[in-house]
């Protein structure tokens, strides 16, 4: 009854699709947006210069000089040792009077001891970015490991497996206090 229609040759759809594919391959990039997130300190007002009053024991200065050498506190240090040193500094397990004091804070109805320690990261203008990121990475790793340890103690699970509310609690108990100081004008470029 119905007229027989000739079949449409579909072999060229593959070519069309290939063209489209090539177009998208050329014009797009893989989303590789990952990195270390930070908050810069706001520009301080002249009248609020009370930041200087941070207690000596609560601050550790991590310096990277122009030859990418690392100093933590006042001693030269290899980057592989930095993480453990920072963990000790931030957690102060033995309540040593040289390490940062802790403050009792009430978070979500429970009391926790929160360290007041601040890591101050300083760099020279000649420091290479690679060394800088390597140090930043070690500092973040120290904080992340402390958070993991705390989550295991408190909730019995690792940090990234916790619910969002629990993560917020952990973040408050183990804050990421890394301050990026104003660049020191050492004169040489």
């Amino acid at each position: 009854m119905a007229k027989k229609t000739p079949e449409i040759n579909s072999s060229s759809t593959a070519d069309i699709a290939f063209l489209l594919l090539c177009y998208f391959l050329m014009t797009t990039t893989m989303g590789d947006q990952s990195g270390l997130q930070r908050r810069l300190p706001p520009i301080p007002d002249k009248e609020t210069a009370q930041d200087q009053k941070v207690n000596r024991r609560n601050i550790v200065i991590v310096r990277i000089n122009s030859a990418d050498k690392l100093f933590a506190g006042n001693e030269a240090m290899d980057i592989s040792l930095l993480k453990d040193k920072m963990k000790e500094f931030l957690s102060n397990p033995a309540d040593s009077p040289e390490l940062p004091e802790k403050e009792e804070k009430e978070i979500e109805g429970k009391k926790y001891m929160v360290s007041k320690g601040v890591i101050s990261l300083q760099n020279d203008r000649g420091t290479s970015y690679q060394a800088y990121i390597a140090v930043q990475n070690e500092l973040v790793k120290a904080v992340n490991e402390l958070r993991d340890e705390f989550s295991m103690r408190e909730f019995g699970r690792r940090f990234h497996l916790l619910s969002e509310d629990q993560q917020d609690i952990v973040k408050k108990v183990v804050p990421q206090n890394i301050s990026e100081a104003e660049p020191k004008d050492t004169g040489k470029k």
Binding site: S10, S11, T13, A14, I16, A17, F18, L20, L21, F24, L25, T27, T28, T29, M30, G31, D32, Q33, S34, G35, L36, Q37, R38, R39, L40, P41, P42, I43, N123, D124, R125, G126, T127, S128, Y129, Q130, Y132, I133, A134, Q136, N137, V140, K141, N144, E180, E182, P183, K189
Partner: protein, 158 residues
Amino acid sequence: MSKFGGSRNNKSVPGISSGSLSDIVFMLLFFFMVTTQMRETENKVIVKLPEATEAAKLERKDLSANINIGSPTRQYQAMYGTDARIQLNDSFKTIDDIRDFIASERDAMSEADRSLMTVNLRVDEDVRMGIVSDVKQELRRCSALKIMYASRKPGGDK
């Protein structure tokens, strides 16, 4: 000769149907459309990101403003030299242009999202910190305080 005992000398092989080829290619196409994003700018500086094991993914990609710092690519080296330069959008800029750049990026966002804007610092690993510090100071002055040091996870490609 024939393995399957066919006594008939049937030499003609049935042609492979290419009808499903287009389906396969379309599937590839959709894969790329979903996993990639439009390249908004052409890279004029070479950026090889440093490695960091603790790198975390940026949640809102649309709320980020990119600042590229690195030495110019080959074709621009004659004009701009090999010193580290800042690239905003599509052209080489200086520190002073960052303020305008941040302002225009802010304007492009909706009111509610402005405070969530993250400045994505894509810096080559061989760059000295001097220029990065300058950029950071300028960002502080513009009160664009959320920043991210773009880095890649070791082992992963690019």
